[in-house]
Point group: C2
Chain length 558, copies 2
C-alpha cells in the first residue's frame, strides 16, 4: 500500500506488509529444509526403484542449473523436455525456473509437425529427452537445428550421437544456489501448450507466482487437501499442465512423491501404489477404467488401503467408474475440472455442507459434477442473452478468472479466447447451480446440434458406459441432411456380448428425450485418443462422417 | 511477467497470468454467492440468538458502507471499532475494507491513555462502539473530539446522547456494491495495534492481499484446515489480530460462523459450542483452562462431540491442558504460534510424517511445540554469533517473513524490529529442529538472566502447572544483588491444598538444573492479565520487585 494509493493524505507510508516474491525457488528451499528427508521414489526404465529425498533433489537441481548455465542457458531462455514422470524431470521442474529460465514441457505423443511448430514458436534452446523417447526427437531434430539435445540415460547404452548425457551436463557446471535466482514472481517459470484437440496448440505461460499460489491452494481441505502425511503418485504426465501442479504442491507441503516412469499399465500402477503406500493419485478417467478392470479381475490381489483419494480430471468421470471403485473396492474418487489455461485447478467436486456425504444419489450428483470453484477462482457462464443465472439448468459457456488462470496466450494470438474484461472463455458449456457447482453439459464444439436444439454427447456417453456390455463410448455429431447433425455412438465392448441397436436404444430411452437417442451405434476395437488420453473426436468424425447418409435418405423418404 | 523482466529479447509480452486483485470484496462476493446460505449465528446481549446467512451479511455490509460514506468516510479513512464478536462487527469487517477505508479494531480493555494514543495516532474518523462498552468510550471521548461515535444497540435503551445508532447509519445511505471498491490489493484493509505488554502499542497495517492469502492458507490441511463443513466459533476477540483471520477464512471457505458476543464464561461458551454443533474453536490458553475446569466439574453435561479442533494460540498451551482435554474429554488441541505482526498465522503444531500421531510422548512433544511454519512463511533464528543451526537446541531470536508478515509499523517507528534484509524480529527466543519445528524458550525479555545464564520462565511455568495443586503459574525475573536476576514463581492454587516451597522445589528438581529452581513462591488469588488474556508480567514484576531482597542478603551472608 502506498501513500498514492490512499484517497487522502495520511501517515501511511510505503509497503506495510511484506511483498516477498512467491517463487519456485522458495518452494524448493522449503522442501529442502523443513521436508528435507521426505522421499521421492521413481520407477526406473529397468523396472527398479530410484529413491532419494527433497534434500538430494535440491542439491542436484542446483547442479543441473549450473550445468545448463554452462551450456549457455540464461534468464528467460526456454528449455524443453520430452520426458515422462521421473526424478530427472522433477529436477528440471526446479532447476530451470530456479535459474530464471522457462521450463517448456512438451508432449512427446504429439504429431511431429505439431512438435516442430510449438518448439519453434516457443524458441526452445535446449531439449532434454528421455533416451527411450529419442526416436521422437530423431524424427524432428533436423527441422530444429538450433536446439541442443540432452539425453536422460536409461542405462541401455551410450547416449545417441549428437546429444549430451544428462548426468554429464549435471556434473559440468558449478551449482547455482536456487535460493536467489528470481526477484520478480510475475516472471515466467514454465509453459505448456494446449492439447489442440480443437485447433492449433496454444502456449500457456505460468509465472512463479501463479504456480506457487496454485500449489498453496492444493492443500485446502475443500480442494485436494495435500498434506505432509500424503504420498502422491501423479499418473498424469509431467508434460501435461505441470502434472496438475502436484510436484510443486507436494514439495510445498512436504508430501512424498512417487513417479511411475514409463510403465502406466494397470498392473504396473497398482503394484507401485501398493508398494509405496501411496495415499493420493491423479490421472484422467481412462487410467481408472483400466485400474478398475484389473481390480475387478483380481479381487484381493492389491492392497491399496492407504489410498484415500483418486483425483480424476481431464474429462468427466463416468458414474460407473466412481461407483465401481467405491462400492467394489473401497476407493474414493475426487473429481476435478481444469484446463491447461487454469494451471489446472479450476473446480473440485466435494459434497457440500448440508448434503449427506455417504454414498447415495444426492451426494453422488455433486461428486459427479465438475464441482465448485477452488478458492481464488471465479466462474460465470454466458449464454446467447448474456450471463446466465445460477439455476442449475440454463446452459452457457463457462468463463473463468483467478491468479492461476491465463490472461493471454504465448505469442500474442489470443484467438478470441479472452473477454474484454479479462476472463478466460473455456469453450465448455455448463450449468451452474445456486451453490456454484458446475456441470459440463458439453464442449461447445462437441454438442450435437439437431434441428436447432442441443444434444449433449457427454450425457449420452456417460449413460452408455453404464451398460454392462459397453466399456467405452464416444458420441459424435454426424452430418444429417434433415437435422443438420445427429448423434452417432461409437462403442468399445466389454466381454463378448454385443447388444443390438434396438437394445441400446431401449436402454437409453428412459433417461433421455426421444430425439436425443443416437441414430446409430458402431462397435470398434478402440477409440482413438489424444496424446493426453482424451477421446480424439475429430478422428472419429472423419472416420464416420457419412455414417448416417443412408439413414438420412431413409428418413427423407419417410 | 513483462518483456523487461526477461533476460533476453523474446516473444513474451505483457502479463501472461491473470493479476486479479486479491481483495476482501472478493471474499465477500464468494461467500455471498457460493456459500450464500451458510449460517452466521450471534449470541445477542440479551442472551438470545441472531441468525442470518452470508447472503444477508453481504447485503447489510453493502448498506453499512453506504451509511458510512454518507457520514463522510472515504477511501483510506480509518474507522475504529470498540466491539466484541457479533454480526455487526462482522459487517464492519467487510464494509470498511470493501469501501476502500481501513478498519481499525481497538482493544476496549486497554488503559484509557493507550486508547487515546492509538486512536489519535491512527487518525480514526469514526468509532463504532458496543452500547455495553459505551463507558469505555465515555472516559476518552472528550480527548478525541474529532471522532463521530456510532453505537451498536443492545436493546436496553436509546443510544447515548452524542452518538448515532448503528442501524440508523446502516439505513442512511445507498448500498455500496462491495464487488468493486478496491483495485489495488496492496492497499490497506485493516489495522491492529500490538498488545503492548512490552512497550508502547505499535500499529500493524494489513493489506487486502495479505488478509486474503492468509485466509487461503488457513484452509491447508497442515495449518487449520478450514472447510465448508466446519462451523467456527472464534473465542479470540475480533479486536485481536482480526480474530486470527477466522472471519475471513470462514467466509472464503464457506464455514459457518458462531459469534459469542459478550459472554465468554466457560458455561456460556460450552452451551453455545454444543448448541451450534461447532467443529472448530479458537482462543488463548486461559480460555481452555476454564473450559477444562468446567468439563471436569460436570462430566457428561456438555455434548461437544462435533468439536474436532480447539485452536490454541497467543501463549504456550500448558501440557496439562492439552492432555486433560484429550484424555478426559476426547477433545483435540491444535497449538499455533503467531503475533499481531504475522496476521497471525505463523506456525502450526501438527505431528510430522513418520511420527506416530496417536497420543504419546513423542507426538505430544510436537503438539506442544510452536510447530512448523505455515506454507509461505519463512523462519530463522539469530543468536549472538549469527543465524543458529536447526539442531533443536541452540537458542536464538526468531525472525520471520512472508506475505502476511509486517514489513513496517504504522507511523514509521519501526523500533529496530525489522532486519536490514526485511525480516521481522519477533522477540521470541526459540530453538528450531531439523524439521523446522519451533520451540519458544522464552520471550527475550521474559528470560531470567541469572549470573549471565538464561533460565526459561516458560519451562518453569509449564512444569508448575503440572502440579495438582497449581492452577496457574507465572514465573518472573526479580532483581537479585548477587545473580542480577533470579526466578520467582507466582501461583494460583487449585483446591485447598497449598504445598510448601520445599515441596514445590522437590517437584521441580527432577526436571531442571538446580540453579533454575525459583528462589521463592508466592500464592495469589489471580494473576493479572493483559487485555488479551496473557499474563501481565510487568505488573507482577512491579508487585514483587523486592521479593528476594532479603533472600539476596541472606545469600550474600552465606
Amino acid at each position: 500500500m502506498t501513500v498514492e494509493a490512499m484517497g487522502r493524505p495520511s501517515p501511511f507510508r510505503g509497503l506495510m506488509m511484506d511483498d516477498v516474491p512467491l517463487t519456485i525457488n522458495w518452494v524448493m528451499r522449503r522442501a529442502a529444509t523443513i521436508f528435507a528427508d521426505r522421499p521421492v521414489v521413481t520407477r526406473t526404465p529397468d523396472g527398479g526403484r530410484h529413491r532419494y529425498t527433497y534434500r538430494a533433489l535440491a542439491e542436484r537441481a542446483g547442479r543441473l542449473a549450473g550445468g545448463l548455465a554452462a551450456l549457455g542457458v540464461g534468464p528467460g531462455d526456454r528449455v524443453a523436455t520430452l520426458a515422462m514422470n521421473h526424478y530427472q524431470h522433477l529436477e528440471m521442474y526446479f532447476a530451470v525456473p530456479g535459474m530464471g529460465a522457462v521450463l517448456h514441457t512438451v508432449n512427446p505423443r504429439l504429431h511431429p509437425d505439431d512438435l516442430v511448430h510449438i518448439m519453434r514458436e516457443a524458441g526452445d534452446r535446449v531439449v532434454v529427452v528421455d533416451q527411450r523417447l529419442w526416436p521422437v526427437w530423431e524424427k524432428i531434430r533436423e527441422r530444429l537445428p538450433a536446439l541442443a539435445a540432452v539425453v536422460v540415460e536409461d542405462g541401455t547404452g551410450p547416449v545417441p550421437a549428437g546429444s549430451l548425457g544428462y548426468e554429464a551436463v549435471l556434473a559440468r557446471g558449478e551449482p547455482v544456489p536456487l535460493a536467489d535466482g528470481v526477484a520478480d514472481d510475475r516472471q515466467a517459470a514454465a509453459m505448456c501448450y494446449t492439447s489442440g484437440t480443437t485447433g492449433r496448440p496454444k502456449g500457456v505461460v505460468y509465472s512463479h507466482r501463479s504456480l506457487v499460489l496454485h500449489a498453496l491452494a492444493e492443500a485446502a481441505v475443500d480442494s485436494i487437501g495435500l498434506s505432509e502425511r500424503d504420498t502422491v503418485l501423479p499418473v498424469v504426465p509431467m508434460f501435461h499442465v505441470m502434472a496438475w501442479g502436484l510436484p510443486y504442491g507436494a514439495a510445498l507441503h512436504g508430501a512424498g512423491l512417487v513417479l511411475p516412469g514409463h510403465d502406466l499399465t494397470p498392473v504396473g500402477l497398482l503394484t507401485l501404489l501398493e508398494e509405496t503406500r501411496t495415499t493420493l493419485t491423479a490421472g484422467v478417467p481412462t487410467i481408472w477404467l483400466g485400474i478398475l478392470a484389473e481390480l475387478d479381475a483380481h479381487p484381493g490381489r492389491y492392497d491399496v488401503s492407504r489410498l484415500h483419494t483418486m483425483l480424476v480430471g481431464g474429462a468427466a468421470v463416468p458414474p460407473s467408474v466412481l461407483a465401481g471403485l467405491r462400492d467394489r473396492h473401497g476407493l474414493t474418487v475426487l473429481h476435478a475440472w481444469g484446463m491447461t489455461e487454469t494451471t489446472p485447478l479450476g473446480s473440485v467436486a466435494h459434497v457440500p455442507a448440508g448434503v449427506d456425504p455417504r454414498p447415495g444419489p444426492e451426494g453422488d450428483a455433486y461428486r459427479l459434477s465438475q464441482g465448485r470453484p477452488a478458492a481464488l477462482v471465479e466462474i460465470r457462464a454466458r449464454g446467447a442473452g448474456g450471463l446466465v443465472p445460477w439455476d442449475g439448468s440454463t446452459p452457457g459457456e463457462l468463463e473463468v478468472r483467478g491468479p492461476w488462470v491465463a490472461a493471454h496466450y504465448y505469442g500474442g494470438d489470443d484467438d478470441g479466447k479472452f473477454t474484454d474484461d479479462g476472463w478466460f472463455r473455456t469453450g465448455d458449456v455448463v450449468t451452474i447451480d445456486a451453490r456454484g457447482y458446475l456441470v459440463i453439459r458439453d464442449r461447445a464444439k462437441d454438442l450435437v446440434k439437431s434441428g436447432g436444439e442441443w444434444i449433449s454427447s457427454v450425457a449420452l456417453e456417460n449413460a452408455l458406459m453404464g451398460h454392462p456390455s459397453v466399456a467405452e463410448a464416444a458420441v459424435i455429431a454426424v452430418a444429417h441432411p434433415r437435422w443438420q447433425e445427429r448423434p452417432l455412438a461409437v462403442l468399445v465392448g466389454r466381454g463378448s456380448d454385443r447388444p443390438s441397436d434396438l437394445e441400446l436404444a431401449r436402454f437409453l430411452a428412459p433417461q433421455f428425450p426421444d430425439w436425443w437417442l443416437p441414430d446409430g451405434y458402431r462397435w470398434v476395437d478402440a477409440i482413438p485418443r489424444t496424446a493426453t488420453g482424451k477421446f480424439l473426436k475429430t478422428a472419429l468424425r472423419e472416420q464416420f462422417h457419412d455414417a448416417l447418409e443412408d439413414r438420412g435418405r431413409d428418413r427423407r423418404g419417410e
